[in-house]
């Protein structure tokens, strides 16, 4: 049986998806990156390899996310794509009529506008990660509430508490102030959800024509409080796809499938890469005043990838 592997190495999570030729998802893994993308990817691939039928053959691999180049050289990717394209492709796969994709991940948030299945506009947060998953994580930890419970609590809110949403530092001091004033935790959490949505719509969503069907994806889509706040602010239903937290990987797998349909043999190195040793190291190039930071990726002590130079002097493009 032929299948396609999609890998999304993000700042917070590393996601792996295996999809069959008929778009059936047989593996869907969401693992924490914890600042160690190589280990996360190896652990993920090991887990994926253990759970697939023995006759399954990987016919193509796609990588995406901020760690897409690293993952790409490690596993031998057939296609390496940015996460905006990957998310849009996955959304169209799940809901062919989709016109708006709201995506909030660990460190970034984006909005993608599609018309007739084609991306016509997109925006990503520019200078600040306010209102993304990392901040919600942090606040849940501070309040001692498991992140899984966070959104559900917001739905129990009975009165609105206003929290500043533009900057996480402002938001946190507002939350602490309101909590010391004696507001209920549920109301504060709901206030935070509304603040994040307000900030999102005013920042990445600025000037965009948001029309249904609307898909909400990325790790933060698990938060019912945010979903409800989006629906209140937009006046439309917001749908959460079944594989909401691995949509980037799903899109990468789909892109790999499209790539392989043009013929050729996959570069996939096999699941054995989980047992190889990978290392990275960096150095500063002193050839000119740019002082580029060059990163090298080593597989069993052999250099398989190198990037970071502006002039291309050090780049190994064995992809």
């Amino acid at each position: 049986m032929k299948a396609y592997l999609g890998i999304d190495v993000g700042s917070v999570s590393t996601n792996i998806v295996i999809v069959t030729e008929d778009n059936e998802v047989i593996t869907s893994l969401y693992l924490r990156t914890r600042g160690r993308p190589i280990e996360a990817l190896q652990a993920g691939l090991k887990e994926a390899a253990a759970g697939i039928p023995s006759d399954l053959q990987i016919a193509g691999v796609g990588t995406t996310g901020s760690g897409r180049f690293l993952a790409g050289v490690m596993v031998g990717a057939d296609v390496i794509k940015n996460e905006i394209t990957a998310h849009a492709v996955a959304a169209s796969l799940v809901q062919p009529n989709v016109q708006t994709v709201l995506e909030i991940g660990g460190q970034d948030s984006k909005i993608i506008i599609l018309r007739n299945g084609v991306v016509t506009d997109f925006a990503m947060n520019t200078v600040c990660a306010a209102g993304t998953g990392s901040f919600l994580d942090q606040q849940a930890a501070r309040l001692g509430i498991p992140i899984q419970e966070f959104g559900r609590l917001a739905l129990k809110s009975t009165s609105s508490v206003r929290i500043a949403g533009r900057c996480t530092v402002f938001a946190e001091s507002d939350m602490i102030h309101k909590q010391q004033m004696g507001h209920r935790v549920e109301d504060i959490i709901n206030g935070l959800c509304e603040a994040l949505v307000r900030n999102y719509l005013n920042n990445v969503g600025k000037g965009k024509e948001i029309l249904p069907p609307i898909l909400f994806q990325g790790g933060v889509a698990a938060n019912e409080g945010i979903k409800a706040a989006f629906e209140r602010a937009l006046g439309f239903d917001v749908q959460i796809p079944r594989y909401y937290n691995v949509m980037g990987a799903l899109g990468a797998a789909q892109l790999a499938k499209e790539e392989m349909s043009r013929g050729g043999k996959t570069r996939f190195k096999g699941f054995d890469v989980t047992s190889l040793s990978y290392k990275t190291r960096s150095f500063e190039c002193n050839s000119c005043s740019n002082l580029c930071e060059i990163v090298e990726v080593l597989e069993n002590e052999a250099i398989i990838g190198r990037w970071g130079s502006r002039c291309g002097k050090w780049d190994i493009a064995d992809l």
């Binding site: 901020s66 794509k81 940015n82 996460e83 905006i84 394209t85 084609v118 991306v119 016509t120 506009d121 997109f122 990503m124 520019t126 200078v127 600025k206 000037g207 965009k208 024509e209 000119c288 005043s289 740019n290 002082l291 930071e293 502006r310 002039c311 291309g312």
Partner: protein
């Protein structure tokens, strides 16, 4: 003896260097802004100042270390705080204990006496006014050659067969122009440069996208401040047209009725009818013009906290919808990580390419 330096802004230092040397000064060529430049600038600048302020301050401190004792820069008027940067820079540098001259040129027609005084100060060779005028004219001639060569790289880079070939030749020809000292040598170096660039093997059938680059002048002109966005776009198969070149900007500033300026402000009129400082009005005007000329998209570059560009960004969302031209904005600050920008540019180019293909599909005649 005056040891003169000035801000580094793209390749303009090549022309300024020649001019300052002809006026009898030793020149300390400002190094390309690096991490160290930024570190120095950030350390000593007010936190809320913009990126150009910090890079310039860092550059001054680096060149002072290299022996410079005279900083030459331009001032400005109108509602952008950059008009006061020279004065603030000077104070910070003095507070750090460096004794240097700050020579800040204002628009010569508005302040003719001030202009001549400053020219006299820098005229170490005691040239006649006529000779100074000739030197400025020749510097201008060189600057025009440099700008034209750069414009040509924008056309060739997206079409090159070997990645990086254009940038390599471009670095080489800048040296030729740097070494040319007379009109004849400049013209010769220019023609050789054009020839060398045109000799780069190109793919004539490649589908090329055309993108206009608009925004604040410093981050537009100095590649080190915008993560070499023109090269990155060129490598993605995009021919860029930059809205500002130093020669064009100078012409517009000396003559309020210059044709380019009038056309641009006319185009911006229904969106931003008055000058709002910096290049805010121009950014909107150029976007309208690029849309009318059939460009595929526009990229806006702005220093973080730049008010004029924030205003135009807000207006541009509506301009973009009305003229059906995608606009992508980058706010630039201290970040040196390239991944964020690379991801957004790759996605933007994907979008433009699909849009263009869809258009070509509905009008197949265009392809043949």
């Amino acid at each position: 003896m005056l040891k003169v330096t000035f801000p580094r802004m793209g390749h303009s230092y090549i022309a300024f260097k020649m001019l300052m040397e002809e006026m009898g000064n030793e020149v300390v060529v400002p190094p390309r802004p690096s991490k160290r430049t930024l570190d120095l600038g950030v350390q000593h600048a007010p936190e809320f100042a913009c990126l150009p302020f910090k890079i310039l301050l860092g550059t001054y401190l680096e060149t002072i270390e290299m022996g410079a004792n005279t900083l030459v820069t331009s001032g400005g008027h109108g509602p952008c705080r950059a008009g006061l940067y020279a004065q603030v820079h000077h104070r910070i540098i003095q507070d750090l204990g460096h004794k240097v001259n700050m020579v800040c040129f204002e628009a010569p027609l508005r302040h003719p006496i001030d202009f001549l005084k400053k020219v006299n100060f820098l005229n170490s060779a005691r040239l006649s006014y006529r000779a100074v005028y000739q030197a400025i004219k020749k510097g201008w001639h060189k600057l025009k050659a440099l700008d034209n060569v750069e414009r040509l790289t924008h056309k060739i880079r997206p079409r090159e067969l070997v990645a990086g070939a254009t940038s390599k030749v471009y670095r080489q020809v800048q040296l030729w122009l740097d070494q040319a000292k007379t009109y004849q040598e400049i013209d010769e170096a220019y023609h050789e440069s054009v020839k060398a660039l045109n000799n780069i093997p190109q793919d004539p059938d490649r589908m090329i996208l055309k993108v206009g680059i608009i925004g604040e002048i410093y981050v537009l002109l100095e590649p080190a401040s915008n993560q070499e966005i023109e090269e990155v776009l060129g490598n993605l198969g995009v021919e860029v047209e930059r809205s500002i070149f130093l020669t064009g900007w100078t012409r517009d500033n000396l003559n309020k009725n210059s044709k380019d300026l009038v056309t641009c402000h006319e185009a911006a009129k229904s969106w931003i009818p008055v000058a709002i400082g910096g290049h805010g009005q121009d950014s909107v005007g150029h976007t309208v013009l690029y849309a009318q000329q059939g460009f595929d998209g526009v990229v806006q570059l702005a220093p973080f906290t730049c008010i004029p560009e924030i205003v135009s960004k807000t207006v541009l969302t509506r301009v973009s919808r009305k003229y059906n031209i995608p606009v992508l904005t980058f706010f630039l600050d201290e970040q040196t990580g390239k991944a964020g920008m690379a991801t957004r540019l790759e996605a933007f180019v994907d979008l433009l390419r699909r849009k263009k293909l869809a258009r070509l599909d509905t009008h197949p005649a265009v392809t043949s």
